[in-house]
């Protein structure tokens, strides 16, 4: 059940009606049932995968809290981490591992071959396992009390707005809210509704429309060169931003209507002046997860310089692997690891002879982030290198390459640029105080904005088929 589908509108409306009418003490049970139903709509068997680590984490956390034996506490924590990561490894990386072993043995002429397992990646597994790990770690660190009600803990793991693609919420933020659900508040409903509408615009209008041109170029990398590849790469940068931040906005908006505040996941990342700033603003819930549960436990920056750089690099490499079981994601993570290491070293040692001025540093950051996206989007590593090679080949006519496409594809390409500009104007414009002041002061202005977004969705949204969100695959 995708957020951008009629089924979800019906489902969510039903949840809201039940939320409104049910006595307060039963609301969390209704939300738990709704969340499980929501997850089972993908594949009912998935529910066992959700419950298995949740059950272990629930009991592990209680035992960690009840125990004063540090060794036992550590062993229990390890049990939770191994269970979650083991599950993640099996479903997400096992076949990649098998493939790598087979490739290595064939390269070394060793007659050894392992058969791939028939595994279907359960949607959202990377998100809920990480959320569950953060719970046991926080209980271990004595930052929170273990939840004593399994149903309430199951709701924390499975809360439907954030179940399949985050944001990954910390237990100290989400659990108290779910344990103290508030009655529906019109102010929250309006705020939530606004976010949902804005998220739908970003997903259906911008991301899905840009996807047409991106798919054409990236699925036939040999056929496109120079400007076409450059534009497709820029389009993808905005596609993935609008796809994932649009999803996050909808998720946060849906939770907000019920009075639950989820963590912010994006903060205009393409207005960053450095890679570090980009990662402070992109997929914030994951970046901070890696910071708190990997980078800092590795020693963070309070270690010798070489170790510090290693910590930085390994954190981004793991972040790349988290995104998917393929060499493309590993390279993508490694590129960011290298870039952030250079930046951090430069901040400390100041070996760069100059500092780029504001606007140029913004363009530079956007350019290298977009360049790294090539590995993220390309179908194979070999395609990535073909795209990079063709990106710098301006000997082919851009017009001739565009003319190869159908009329509908040319239209989708042509409206891509105005849509990106519109998005940038909306996002940048919102930073101005007078814009916000007028929006919040005058009701007709707000109405005009809502109506404009609705019309933009109807006129330019891709509604013919609901396309999945890119981050659902992770």
């Amino acid at each position: 059940m995708l957020f951008n589908s009629i089924n979800f509108i019906l489902f969510f409306s039903t949840v809201l009606v039940l939320y409104y009418f049910l006595p307060r003490k039963y609301t969390w049970i209704m939300l738990l049932i709704a969340s499980l139903f929501f997850y089972m709509c993908w594949r009912w068997q998935y529910i066992f995968l959700l419950f298995f680590p949740a059950t272990i984490d629930f009991f592990v956390a209680r035992n960690i809290e009840d125990s004063s034996d540090q060794k036992k506490r550590k062993a229990l924590l390890m049990l939770s981490i191994v269970t979650n990561l083991g599950l993640l490894f099996y479903f997400k990386y096992f076949n990649f591992f098998i493939g790598s072993v087979n490739t290595a043995s064939s390269l070394m002429n060793i007659p050894f071959f392992l058969n791939a397992a028939k595994i279907l990646l359960p949607v959202g597994i990377s998100f809920y396992t990480f959320q569950s790990i953060s719970y046991t770690v926080e209980v271990y660190r004595k930052n929170i009390k273990a939840e004593r009600n399994f149903g309430r803990f199951a709701l924390f793991v499975s809360f439907f707005p954030q179940l399949v693609a985050g944001p990954i919420n910390r237990p100290q933020i989400l659990l108290p809210q779910l344990n103290n659900l508030q009655p529906l508040d019109p102010a929250n409903m309006v705020k939530g509704g606004r976010l949902i509408l804005w998220g739908l615009f970003k997903k259906i209008v911008v991301a899905d429309r840009l996807a047409f041109f991106v798919n054409i170029v990236y699925n036939s990398p040999e056929s496109y060169h120079g400007t076409a590849v450059l534009l497709a790469t820029i389009f993808f940068a905005f596609q993935i931003y609008c796809d994932f931040s649009g999803y996050s906005d909808i998720a946060i908006g849906v939770a907000k209507t019920m009075g639950v505040d989820l963590v912010k996941n994006f903060n205009k990342p393409y207005f960053s002046h450095s890679i570090k700033e980009f990662w402070d603003k992109w997929h914030i819930s994951l970046s901070t997860w890696f910071r708190d549960y990997l980078y800092i436990p590795l020693g963070g920056n309070r270690v010798p310089m070489a170790r510090w750089i290693f910590n930085l690099f390994i954190t981004f490499l793991v972040s790349g692997i988290w995104h998917g079981a393929s060499l493309n994601f590993i390279i993508w993570g490694a590129i960011h690891g290298v870039l952030i290491s250079i930046e951090s070293l430069n901040a400390k040692l100041k070996f760069m002879p100059f500092k780029l001025p504001g606007f140029l540093s913004l363009i530079w950051t956007f350019s290298i982030v977009s360049f790294a996206w090539i590995f993220f989007r390309a179908n194979t590593v070999s395609d990535s290198f073909t795209i990079i090679r063709n990106l710098f080949d301006f000997s082919h006519s851009f017009t001739a390459e565009i003319k190869q496409m159908t009329g509908a594809d040319i239209y989708n390409f042509a409206i891509g640029i105005p849509l990106i500009l519109l998005l940038v104007i909306f996002e940048k414009g919102w930073e101005f105080e007078f814009v916000q002041k007028n929006f919040y002061t005058y009701r007709p202005v707000r109405f005009a904005c809502y109506i404009s977004l609705i019309l933009l969705i109807a006129l330019f949204g891709v509604l013919v088929s609901q396309s999945s969100f890119i981050y659902f695959q992770f």
Partner: protein
């Protein structure tokens, strides 16, 4: 909460009104437009033809009408719609005849893989959207799903859903005739001559002799009603397995049609698996269409 619902209701009403206005505007421009085959055919009225070619893209791209005119002096029209299935073709023929057009012979291209079809193709269906308020169109399509009621009764829903086809770009195109039609004045379209290579894989292609042929029978009945001589034919295909099964099946299908008083000509294997006349597996190139028209000229006399 009450105030929130009041505001939501106002928002709903304003949106509904705007969608109603957009629906009116879009429908007006699209009905005036002439870009798609269906828009063009909608404006063909009160005309007399000696023959019409009908079918999917396999008929749209296969017969050279001016060539037939030069050779036989007969006036023809190609009413085929690319991407259409046989239910759409039945509707198209019905609409064409209801506009007081007359035709003596109808050459309908039929294929083993589609002539017994009882569904409509997703990508071809929106072409009829500007005419959905027409009862003939709606009565035809409502049998294919409840969504057709939404297309007809929810303002602008159909144009929003298929805005890649019926979007603002098409409004501009229809209003200012930006792009030329991709078919000629007779309704023909020809693929360019390309270096099409032999099909990688051949496939069995036989008619289901026990099939219901619901829409084919409706076309047969419609032709009888309008005194039109119906001739069925199968255009050349590059990727079929030509064996005894195939040949016997074509003969058997011909006999089945004969029992309904309809002639059938099988040209599916006319060029064997030789790719030189083809643009792809199932479509002839321009030179292929010229040659094919020449080879079957007799049936137009």
């Amino acid at each position: 909460m009450k105030r929130l619902f009041q505001h939501l209701f106002i928002l709903f009403l304003v949106s509904l009104f705007l969608f109603w206005l957009l629906d009116l505007g879009f429908t007006y421009v699209f009905q005036k437009g002439n870009y798609t085959k269906i828009q063009w055919l909608d404006k063909v009225k009160d005309q007399k033809f000696d023959y019409a070619i009908h079918g999917s893209s396999r008929a749209f791209t296969t017969i050279d009408i001016p060539q037939i005119g030069d050779s036989t002096g007969k006036k023809g029209i190609n009413i085929s719609v690319d991407g259409s299935s046989i239910p759409d073709q039945y509707l198209m023929l019905k609409l064409f005849l209801l506009k007081n057009n007359t035709v003596k012979k109808l050459y309908l291209q039929v294929d083993p893989f589609s002539s017994d079809m009882e569904e409509v193709f997703e990508f071809a269906v929106p072409k009829f959207f500007p005419y959905i308020k027409d009862d003939v169109v709606f009565d035809h399509f409502k049998q294919f799903g409840k969504e057709w009621y939404a297309y007809r009764y929810i303002p602008f829903y159909r144009y929003a859903k298929y805005n890649t086809l019926w979007g603002i770009h098409e409004v501009i195109n229809d209003k200012f005739s930006v792009l030329p039609q991709d078919f000629d004045q007779f309704g023909d379209f020809f693929y360019p001559n390309v270096n099409y290579k032999a099909p990688e894989k051949l496939r069995h292609m036989t008619f289901d002799l026990k099939g219901k042929y619901k829409f084919l029978n409706l076309i047969i009945d419609l032709c009888k009603q309008y005194n039109i001589k119906l001739i069925l034919f199968t255009a050349p295909v590059a990727d079929i397995i030509i064996d005894n099964d195939y040949k016997n099946n074509a003969v058997a299908f011909g006999n089945l049609m004969k029992s309904k008083g309809v002639a059938y000509y099988n040209y599916g294997d006319l060029y064997g698996n030789d790719p030189k006349m083809f643009f792809n597996e199932i479509h002839l190139s321009k030179s292929g269409a010229t040659d094919f028209t020449k080879q079957i000229m007799e049936i137009f006399r």
